[in-house]
Amino acid sequence: MSILVNKDTKVIVQGFTGKEGTFHASQCIDYGTQIVGGVTPGKGGQEHLGRPVFNTVAEAVEATGATVSMIFVPPAFVADAVMEAAEAGIELAVIITEGAPVRDMMYAKMYATKKGMSTIGPNCPGIITAEECKIGIMPGFIFKKGPVGLISKSGTLTYEASNQVVKEGLGITTAVGIGGDPIIGLSYKQLLPMFEADPETEAIVMIGEIGGDLEIQAAEFIKENITKPVVAFIAGQTAPKGKRMGHAGAIISGSSGTAAEKMEALEKAGVKVVVSPADIGKAVKEVLGR
């Protein structure tokens, strides 16, 4: 088991024939992901990476039965691509593109929600179910199968955390990079219950950062609903106020969105919060009693 995606998941790629789309789609294919086709308007009927190219998402869905779309289109076209996927009946859109305007994402997410489509990202590494299905840009080999679910706002910290978990002799069920933009799709609060319900997941790692209050919402949710052990790390304990730290959403506004307040809320909810990012793997081993 796993959450959201597995070896049977059929995936199309929007922005399939572009440089990024091509490189990462072929990496996903090598990993074993069922990439069943792609969409590039105007290139319908061609073949790319041995898969069919379609002009529209609707045609791609009809021909391939895909339920997930991995989106690589340039930032200005992200909202359009997401809404097209939602309209075509895609169930989950994984938005890798970095730099989409907030206003666009606001409309795109509202429309996706209305159509019953979930989104991950934008500006994220994607989602991976270890040794089954990689939909994104993460280095696949770091994610070995095991009992730990992983939710993270940061790409390289996801790799770091998974690497530490694997070095402790454990592994990952599914890892989701949710992205660090001001408006994102699935977040801790929606993903935590999925891991709670997944019989293979025994512990959950959540990696947050400064800005916004998703981690605080997660803390409240964990307190009431999550029985599996949770380990958390919040990046940006030393970040200054009012400065954007790389991610568009990683900014302490006034006195809210600090790492300290998030760590405190999570600790109060019974989460094992580590101060040092080097202690994530060890803490997971500890909470699992291994």
Partner: protein, 390 residues
Amino acid sequence: MNIHEYQAKEIFRKYNVPVPRGKVAFTVDEAVEAAKELGGDLWVVKAQIHAGGRGLGGGVKLAKSLDEVRHWADEILGMTLVTHQTGPEGKVVHKVYIEEGADIAKEYYLGMLLDRAAEMPVMMASTEGGMEIEKVAAETPEKIVKVTIDPTIGFQGFHGRKLAFGLGLPKEEVGTFVKFAAALYNAYMDNDAELVEINPLIKTGDGRFLALDAKMGFDDNALYRHPDISEMRDLDEEEPTEVEAKAHGLSYVKLDGNVGCMVNGAGLAMATMDIIKHEGGEPANFLDVGGGANPETVAKGFEIILKDPNVKAIFVNIFGGIVRCDRVANGILEATKITDVTVPVVVRLDGTNAEEAAEILKNANIQNIIPAENLADGARKAVAAAKGEL
């Protein structure tokens, strides 16, 4: 991206958000000329910098004659203005805004930003005009009225009425206020703003609402579709090293410590700062070199970090995924040939081909490159190196 008050007011005018008449001036003579053109017998001379608290810092002065305009413009232009938002080093004033004096009957606050929890814009109003809204929110939150606005329906009358009645406005003023708020909503949405603040919003003796101050910030990701706003960028207001880093695709923020950091990925870059602190040191910067970490970007990274004279050691922390560590290791060696790296560099490379990378660094045998085993080891060594203990 932030802009000046005078620029925000230009945008306000375009959207029929009422503002007092005013003109920007770069010299004392221009300031006096501007006051003459505006006419009247009362002017305000306002320093234009990207920071709040200008009045308290001495950057906003009333002038009752053209001689006083000349006096205050001369005083303010070129001064280093220190406010609670500029930091102790302050900011040099390069331009002043000359504005007609206004008859203030009452001061309010009106602002708009993204409510990240609701995923919609929120408009906020308060009777505590002139006060810092953060402070009002912390001390007297009941004095702030908020409405989230679903952008698919846009700004409706009821949004404005909720704010107006919440402020306790008499019913004959409600209509004027609603019109003002609707105009502000359009200015915010049309331009992909991430923040707009009017503090104070004033009511004049004759019952008009006017934006006495104006602050706007924009979503950097949307600037491509607003060339007019992109042109308002004032590089004098930005940290030069941060601007230079951005031009090379790097994301840099200067901090006060002495351990320089070079990392791939924003989250790991923040985590690297945190672990340095955790190990008893102080990070000198945030630096995300992005996914590529090729020799040119690494060299540029070294150059930017070393512009800060406080830096006594550098911690290079790269988690190689798609980018292979052996390539990064070669990149680091290459970079030390391009840029003269004068301080010890602790290098931690993990991920794809990490062992080959360790071998490359070991064989290169460069005295001030110190390989690290893992994240914690790297942080410890970097902190020790900065203290001269390695």
